[in-house]
């Protein structure tokens, strides 16, 4: 354990701070949880600035448009800390930079890396994910969307669901069934689909939050070059699992939890009921403290896992628990915030007296969606017990998978 901040790092921290001070005006406002709109010009410019200074795409090689720094966990932590402290935008997030790019780095051809990484990290190309299907749900290997070979192309028919940002995405990375004869898991390929291709119909999918954070995407005779397959044909399942690992990290990022917790603390110091501040209620305070312990635990757990990853160590069961634990904490933070607001905690839709733009009710529901999404909590527990602890699969699923 060495968390010491040597002179080098202290001066790095100073650098970050002075960057943030100097550029405070240029940073776009930080919005709710997840940006669902097309990136603004402000954001694109900010992203460029971040990459240029190594505060985004930091470890992505220069040849692909990144900053090209060697992985340095401590610097990454310092950047996180300082940006969080300043409450300033971390730049582009979303499925391009967070999910596709790491996957391409691992599995993409040189051409694909050269072609896609740069615009993706700069926000010029916006990506959406085409994994889930109405009939597949937690059983991702059950993807039914067919891609049939036709000359140099695939012709794709099927339906995707839960595709965030699909309505303003340029591209989709998707799982499609290219080898109908192969087994459930071996018949899938990972393919990149331009969203402007004829035959793609995007329909917004409303959720319980009242917002359309997701879409359904209908694909009818969509023609895509075979060259757009990432990795080998039939390897889609394996590759998608790489991406899902990144998604899991993204979904449960402890930095987001810390942000929520800070918001909750501020709320509790402000909100009063019958003249008593919420933070002065022993019961509410105790719930806050229990959550704080969990958030701290996940924060250091993330650091531990990152260290392990940098060292190339396998994390075992420990590396599989972040999503399960993190989404639950997020949901509980929101639940406490709602209780702190008491009767006013139910206000929504921009109502008067609503706190923080309705963020807490949104988070309460959205985090429940996250508990379910990207593999329900039950699937996560299957994975932890089977892959992490080596427990046997259920006899039934073993034969059918």
């Amino acid at each position: 354990m060495d968390l010491s901040y040597s002179a080098e790092y202290e001066s790095f921290r100073e650098e970050v701070r002075s960057f943030l001070e100097k550029n405070a005006d240029r940073a776009p406002k930080v919005g709710l949880l997840m940006s669902v709109g097309k990136p603004s010009q402000d954001l694109l410019a900010w992203q460029d600035l971040l990459i240029e200074n190594g505060y985004a795409a930091r470890n992505i090689p220069r040849e692909y448009g990144g900053y090209g720094a060697a992985p340095d966990l401590l610097k990454r932590v310092i950047i996180d800390e300082e940006f969080n402290r300043a409450g300033m935008s971390r730049g582009m997030a979303g499925q391009g930079p967070d999910m596709l790019v790491p996957t391409l780095l691992e599995h993409g051809s040189e051409e694909q890396k050269k072609g896609w990484i740069r615009p993706s990290i700069r926000g010029e190309t916006v990506w959406c994910q085409g994994y889930s299907e109405p009939g597949a749900g937690s059983d991702l290997a059950n993807v039914q969307t067919r891609a049939v070979e036709d000359g140099d192309d695939f012709v794709i028919n099927g339906q995707k669901i839960w595709t965030t940002t699909a309505h303003h995405s340029d591209m989709m990375f998707a799982l499609v069934r290219t080898e109908p004869e192969a087994s459930k898991h071996a018949g899938l390929s990972y393919i990149l689909i331009p969203m402007k291709t004829a035959g793609i119909d995007v329909r917004p999918l409303n959720t319980m939050t009242g917002a359309a954070e997701f879409n359904e995407v209908f694909l009818t005779d969509v023609r895509v070059p075979q060259a757009n397959v990432v990795g080998q044909r039939g390897e889609g399942w394996k590759i998608a699992n790489t991406t899902l690992r990144h998604e899991r990290n993204m979904l449960a990022s402890s930095a987001q939890l810390e942000g929520s917790l800070l918001g909750l603390i501020a709320l509790m110091q402000r909100e009063q009921c019958n003249g008593v501040r919420a933070i002065d209620s022993p019961l509410l305070r105790d719930r806050l403290l229990r959550l704080q312990a969990r958030v701290l635990a996940l924060r250091y757990h993330d650091m531990r896992m990152l260290t392990a990853r940098i060292k190339g160590e396998r994390g075992g069961a420990a590396s599989l628990v972040s999503k399960l634990a993190g989404c639950e904490v997020s949901h509980q933070i929101a639940a406490l915030a709602i209780d702190v607001m008491g009767e006013l905690g139910v206000l929504y839709e921009g109502s008067r007296y609503q706190r923080a733009d309705g963020r807490w009710q949104f988070l309460y529901m959205f985090s429940l969606g996250l508990i379910i999404g990207g593999g329900t909590a039950q699937i996560q527990k299957n994975i932890i017990s089977e892959r992490g602890l080596g427990m046997p699969r259920e006899p039934q699923s073993q034969t059918r998978r």
Binding site: M208, E271, C273, H331, G342, Y348, I372, R400
Partner: protein, 367 residues
């Protein structure tokens, strides 16, 4: 001695559910509340004919003259279909306030119209349990000043019942069109109920119920009756959420089998039922105790509302999880029950507060 619902109560439940299944299915509820939260689309009149609006109104005033336990049965059925009605405000809280605090003349004036569903009364009771934003209503020379947040069943209300003073020591009925009264809609997660903020600026009072300064008993009874109705609402909504989850789990296939055959899913359903069923008995008993004005009534009401709020939150969450991604969609409708339970939890005192009240009633928190 017979612990359970009577045949009449079971019939009431059946009648209501049949009516609601036919006339107010979730598809219809969606349409109505999309127009305006709490919009009952005229169904309140029909429900009044079924005896729901006047359920607590004495027969001499045209009501059914039933008990709070009966009202709980009705509330449970209304929640089963997430029906948007002014049941809580008019049929329960206002009716109880009038029968407890109102003079004979006042009862004769208001109750018959409540029973027909003609008169709809919103209730401005939030500040009795949780005062925020400097809200509260006070009297000056017979007129009202101040504001009240989260006024219940404000949609379509022609009158408002307003506890006045720090502890609601007086009870005023105010015409929705009264001079000096402004009503501002508040939107919540749950569209099946309509809320508003009322601002009083020397607002006129239509009627003072009972003696001014002597309404505390009535206010207390009214709050407890409201809590029973809310707890029953949580019960009905949770019960339905479980039913929907079990049904969904029996149809949806994943990994080559219905998900209801997976132990994890089955156990989630079993846990929901194991939480809910004992709570049902607690609610029945609390309603019964309140009907009999038993010594333990207030304690039981506090426990019933607090306990159902806690387990209801878990149940609707678990039911959503059983549904997987589909449960998160707007289209599936499950969230109507999810949100209704979420709302009920916060009204007329959250669980922490009610438990502290239960402690007080037992002389425990003396420090």
């Amino acid at each position: 001695m017979d612990f359970g619902l009577s045949d009449e109560q079971k019939l009431l439940e059946q009648t209501l559910r049949r009516y609601l299944d036919e006339e107010l299915p979730i598809t219809r509820v969606r349409e109505l509340v999309a127009e305006e939260p709490g919009n009952d689309g005229g169904h309140w009149k029909d429900l009044a004919e079924l005896g729901v609006a006047g359920i607590l109104v004495p027969e001499e005033h045209g009501g059914s003259g039933l008990s709070i336990l009966d009202a709980a049965v009705a509330a449970e059925s209304l929640a089963w279909n997430v029906a948007p009605t002014p049941f809580l405000g008019s049929a329960v809280m206002a009716s109880v306030a009038l029968t407890t605090a109102g003079s004979s003349a006042q009862q004769a004036r208001w109750l018959p119209r409540i029973a027909t569903g003609e008169c709809r009364i919103g209730v401005a009771a939030t500040e009795l349990t949780s005062r925020r934003e400097d809200a509260g209503v006070s009297e000056r020379a017979g007129r009202l000043n101040g504001k009240s947040l989260m006024v219940l069943d404000a949609t379509g209300a022609d009158h408002f019942l307003v506890p006045v003073g720090q502890t609601g020591e007086s009870l005023a009925l105010v015409d929705a069109g009264a001079r000096g009264l402004t009503c501002e809609r508040l939107r919540t997660i749950d569209r099946t109920r309509g809320f508003a903020e009322l601002v009083f600026d020397d607002a006129e009072v239509a009627d003072w119920l009972g003696e001014r300064g002597g309404a505390e008993t009535a206010v207390c009874h009214m709050l407890n009756a409201g809590r029973i109705a809310l707890a029953a609402d949580i019960l009905g909504a949770s019960e339905r959420a479980i039913e929907l989850a079990v049904a969904y789990a029996g149809q949806r296939e994943q990994f080559g089998r219905v998900i209801g055959s997976f132990q994890a899913v089955k156990h989630m359903c079993a846990e929901m039922v194991a939480e809910l069923e004992p709570a049902r008995a607690l609610l029945w008993y609390a309603a019964h105790a309140l009907d009999g004005q038993q010594e333990d009534a207030a304690l039981m009401v506090a426990h019933a509302k607090a306990h159902l709020s806690e387990i209801g939150r878990e149940i609707v969450r678990t039911a959503t999880e059983v549904h997987g991604g589909v449960g998160f969609t707007d289209e599936q409708n499950l969230h109507y029950w999810f949100k209704r339970v979420g709302l009920d939890r916060q009204l007329l005192g959250g669980p922490d507060q009610l438990r502290e009240q239960a402690a007080l009633l037992q002389g425990w928190n003396t420090a």
